[in-house]
Symmetry: C2
Subunit: 185 residues, 2 copies
DNA sequence: TCCGATGTGTTGGATATCCAACATTTCAGC
DNA sequence: GCTGAAATGTTGGATATCCAACACATCGGA
């Protein structure tokens, strides 16, 4: 299994940094958060920050990914089918995530957030497709996963834009027949 | 000034250990808390624990002292007189501290707790007496501080024992004339 | 324009922490 | 009693973190 076991100091320090960053994010805008702020809050040296992250954007990226994964892992898609229930669950997880972000202040980084969401969705979709269609070539499954991730993300954008307050569940259900059966002809 | 500046890793690790211990104390009895429990929660190695503390009793001691000092430091007795107001404030700080402990589970360690409270009270009393009576010899001030600390602690025990729910303020005020003016003859 | 102040990154040597292994103690269960 | 499992302490070598110093970029005010 090639289990590599990362040093616990690394796990602890990353957690301290990420927690501090998430905590600060609820108090200041991202652009006003300095690396010194983070390291002071985390009680670690500034040099240590650079041992773990390229720069503050790298941290933003990894912290958001982490938070999103927490949102998603609660649902454990590992062994579930790509069916209506799963799609609804994924969609609400995304809308929840974005709602939680809107209270913090990450304005101006929508593109970063979008990429992170799509990346994680793509991984999840690909795993599911691989399990459900072992006979297909990886190429096609990969591309399908990509398109599904873009599609679902786009749907979440559309849901936010729509002023009528329909629930995420209802909203996405309208599209599910097309996802499952294709557009036909 | 001989400022020695302790390594921030030491401060951070001690804080992690103490916080974990205090957290665990609210979930288990002290006798059921193992050092592995603490180090796991704190995300530090067991060997590191022994770098900072002799054993778990040493930790108990220092953690309780820390908590008590937080209770007391809010009042900053550094520059205040040893008058009625200060005495009432000290007394309520002690009763508050003991009440907070009774929710956690430190039964069987009353003597440790008592010693910690008396030690800290003695330091505070001595500093005040030294400032108010610079002409007196240290010997007498020290002993007075000792007796005051035992006395105030004893009063807090008596307050807890008394079933009639009189407030700490009222309770201690009854003794203040004797403290301030002596027993006379 | 220039300047001081503040933030970003980087580096080499010092040190706190980790790990694995070990001996010892405690204690529940047979 | 005995025995295995779990907890307590201890150690020497490996590694993550700290520190002080440095160069560079940014920026608001004289």
């Amino acid at each position: 299994m090639t289990e590599a076991k990362t040093d616990p100091r690394i796990l602890r320090t990353r957690k301290l940094i990420m927690d501090s960053f998430i905590d600060l994010s609820s108090k200041k805008e991202f652009k006003d958060i300095t690396i010194k702020d983070i390291t002071t809050e985390a009680m670690i040296n500034r040099a240590t920050f650079y041992y773990h992250f390229m720069d503050i954007y790298d941290l933003l990226d990894k912290a958001l990914t982490e938070v999103l994964l927490v949102n998603l892992n609660g649902k454990e898609y590992e062994n579930s089918e790509l069916n209506e229930k799963t799609l609804v669950s994924l969609f609400t997880a995304i809308t929840d995530f974005q709602t939680s972000l809107s209270t913090r202040c990450h304005r101006g980084y929508e593109d970063t957030i979008a990429r992170i969401i799509r990346d994680q969705l793509e991984v999840i979709f690909f795993r599911m497709l691989e399990r459900q269609h072992p006979e297909e070539v990886e190429e096609g499954l990969k591309l399908s996963a990509t398109m599904l991730s873009w599609g679902l993300y786009g749907a979440s954008m559309e849901w936010r834009r729509s002023s009528d307050s329909v629930s995420p569940e209802e909203f996405i259900r309208a599209a599910i027949p097309f996802i499952q059966n294709g557009i036909g002809n």
